[in-house]
């Protein structure tokens, strides 16, 4: 008797406001109109996906003090869009990325619990820890939260939200609560009863050791960039290895890298298509901007099809309090130059190579096989698909790959439950009254 193959989880990312979306493709639609969200979400639900994820950015990107013009920018507010999507979907999980830095527990816990009620148990919160000073300029708290404080605030935020979600008894009686901690000192009566999932599902992104520890202690899902088999296995082993000390099992936390999928009739056609998409995503101007973000100075006189600068980035240029954090920009520059020398790449080709997102490229059959293998070998529990087109970017995957995953027995052929927790196979949290 053979064991059932490991089941994989699928989520859809709405590819807004970044250089993923290929906006000059004639099939590219609005990233703002509700009909775009509705199309992508309905398609994901037809594909029996676990959830639909919206990213967040609380300040328009700027470059050299000017608003960045080259990529898709502008998006509606996530929780509001997801509440509307609850009306046009029945089973799909609805996940909002919301900063733990620029919100307060009482208000956000209430909005999330409301979404869980309005969707009959499909809400999730992707907890990010934005800390940059530019974003802070839009908020009361202002300025900048030191990196050392970002995850202590996020962890206390999630813990406080859980206290609020537990403050009504399961039979619907509100009880006073009080939380007095380092970041929050609050008390009173929460205004929303315990929601259908008990607690909305918690997702974590962010890769630092603090971020991984936070994920192990508090998250149900990790959304990660480690989407190659080697990196994925190492990441899963590391994060899942941290669970035991919190009394958790490896299966209690689902690790899902964000990936692109490019399909073709055969593998060669898919590869050619993928290369074309990368060229669209990294335009000549965008390549120079990417370079300037690392080098920290004006490089507009450089030819995108020519070689990289030989000089190092300005030492003072690491914009650590700004929006873009490359870590050590000299190390990044050295790595890019090495890559360019090794493969004989131009500026634009180097940026394409160095900033690519993990991708499954091939025929539908090859992609299904590769995804199944990926999960079977412990490199991930599933994937967050990041299409490059709105609103039709998931159509081919759902129509062509999902049936093959089902055929292989690694993906559901019907929703068995109605809540996001039931899709993920994770339990409702025990009420801690």
């Amino acid at each position: 008797m053979t064991a059932a193959p490991k089941q994989l989880h699928l989520a859809a990312h709405f590819p807004d406001a970044n250089n993923t979306t290929v906006w000059d493709d004639p099939r590219s639609g609005s990233q703002i109109e509700f009909s775009s969200f509705e199309h992508l979400a309905r398609k994901a639900e037809r594909g029996l996906f676990d959830f639909f994820l919206l990213a967040e950015g609380l300040r328009l990107r700027e470059h050299n003090g000017l608003i960045h013009e080259l990529d898709v920018a502008g998006r509606p507010e996530s929780l509001t869009v997801l509440a509307a999507l609850a009306a046009v979907t029945d089973r799909l999980g609805l996940a909002a990325t919301v900063s733990a830095t620029f919100n307060e527990p009482c208000e956000l816990a209430r909005r999330l619990a409301t979404l869980d009620h309005l969707s009959s148990g499909r809400a999730a919160w992707n907890v990010t820890t934005s800390s940059d000073a530019l974003t802070g300029e839009n908020f009361r708290r202002g300025g900048y939260l030191d990196p050392a404080d970002r995850y202590t605030r996020a962890a206390e935020f999630v813990a406080t939200a859980r206290e609020l979600w537990d403050s009504w008894t399961p039979d619907g009686t509100p009880r006073p609560f009080a939380h007095h901690g380092r970041h929050f000192s609050i008390e009173g009566e929460f205004t929303v009863p315990r929601s259908p999932q008990g607690h909305p599902v918690v997702i974590q992104t962010g890769d630092s050791p603090e971020g991984r520890e936070f994920a192990a202690s508090a998250a149900d899902i990790v959304f990660t960039r480690h989407g190659t088999p080697e990196a994925g296995r190492a990441f899963c082993a590391d994060v899942k290895g941290r669970l035991a000390k919190y009394g958790r099992e490896p299966d209690d936390l689902k690790i899902m890298p964000g990936v692109a999928v490019v399909l073709g009739d055969n593998d060669a056609e898919a590869r050619e298509r993928a290369a074309g998409i990368r060229l669209q995503q990294v335009s000549p101007q965008n390549a120079i901007v990417a370079l300037e973000r690392v080098w920290g100075r004006d490089l507009s006189s450089y030819d995108p099809d020519g070689p990289l600068p030989v000089s190092d980035p300005e030492p003072a240029s690491a914009p650590s309090r700004g929006r873009v954090r490359h870590g050590d920009s000299r190390a990044v520059a050295a790595r890019w130059r090495e890559l360019s020398r090794e493969k004989g790449l131009s500026i634009r080709q180097t940026v394409i190579e160095a900033t690519g997102r993990p991708a499954f490229v091939g025929s539908p059959r090859a992609v299904a096989a590769e995804m199944a293998e990926f999960v079977a070998t412990g490199a991930a529990d599933g994937f967050v698909l990041v299409p490059h087109l709105i609103p039709g970017g998931l159509d081919d995957f759902v129509d062509q790959v999902v049936p093959l995953l089902q055929e292989r027995g690694v993906f559901r052929s019907a929703y068995t439950g109605s809540t996001l927790r039931s899709h993920l196979g994770i339990a409702e949290p025990v009420w801690k009254g």
């Binding site: 406001a17 906006w23 000059d24 703002i32 109109e33 509700f34 509705e38 609380l58 300040r59 328009l60 000017l66 608003i67 013009e69 080259l70 990529d71 898709v72 920018a73 502008g74 998006r75 509606p76 507010e77 929780l79 509001t80 869009v81 509440a83 509307a84 609850a86 009306a87 046009v88 620029f102 919100n103 307060e104 009482c106 208000e107 209430r110 909005r111 409301t114 979404l115 009620h117 309005l118 530019l134 300029e137 839009n138 908020f139 009361r140 202002g142 509100p174 929050f184 000192s185 609050i186 008390e187 009173g188 009566e189 205004t191 929303v192 009863p193 335009s283 000549p284 101007q285 965008n286």
Partner: protein, 355 residues
Amino acid sequence: MSHLRPLHLAAEIGGPPRYDPAHYTGLARLAERGALDFVTLGDSFARPGPDALAVLSRVAPDTRRIGLVPTVTTTHTEPFHVSSAVATLDWVSGGRAGWCVDVSTTAAEARLFGRRPAAPAAELWREAGEAADVGARLWDSWEDDAEIRDAATGRFLDRDKLHHTDFEGTAFGVRGPAVVPRPPQGRPVTVIDGTADAARETAARHADVVLVRATTPERTAEIRDDVHRRAAAHGRAPGTLRVLAALTVDLGDAESAPEPGLESGPPLAGHGTYYRGGPVDLADLITQWHRTGAVDGFHLTPITPGRDLERIVNGTVALLQHRSLFRTFHPGGTLREHLGLARPANRYARQGARV
């Protein structure tokens, strides 16, 4: 009676807290069937109930024409988030959003946030005015044609049509621009209850719709004239404001002898003007008040939404329609169109800059 301005009607759909969306969708559809301008949903951190803006966003795809106006408080919330959420409600509803500005005055609400103590109403309404002001600026911070998708130059946006708000208020600052592009109505409709002294100035300065709780048409007209005077002092044309009389209505006892007529010494509940009687008498009252020219319309808060809203729509509104005092359908698509309010020009757009 051709001098009469069109009658506007709105209804509150809150009541005892409910968390199932079907309840709210049903009420909003009922109001929509009555061709009401908008429904409101009250909100506060001080008592049980779901987040009103999320509820009305959930209602949006299940309705087509009715305006959706949640209460969104300004005291403990972030103006940047609030403006984004209201703009998003406008996007998901295709231009039917408004927000009813309110403040949180209690110590209990302050303790839920733990950031600052409770403050006097006057101070909080000044801050609410700043929140309304920066909200409008953020809605304008993208000119309507900022998104250009110009493949020839590789530019998605025209940065000259995006504007930092650089707002510095007494309690917060917002650099901007918004992340949400300018919403379909340009600016969603701002509603403020201007009855209380503390709120009047903010209402006159920032509201498109001012609610007034008073027991007689005369008193309502006085408050309205005061609002108009103050609005004019801020450079606004009074004709761009709609003043609605706010009534709490109890139509539960329609069979027995009604007690219509606030004019003849109405029963006053703690929450202002209170009407108890039948739907026909309510229609008469609305007709009389409107005929005096005291108000542009009414905002009705049913004591029991399910029961009373039905009687309002099928009784009161049907009668007003029969008398040709109220429209039978929504001729336009947006809330501003229902209210007869123009889509505001963008304050940042340079006159004649584009040809």
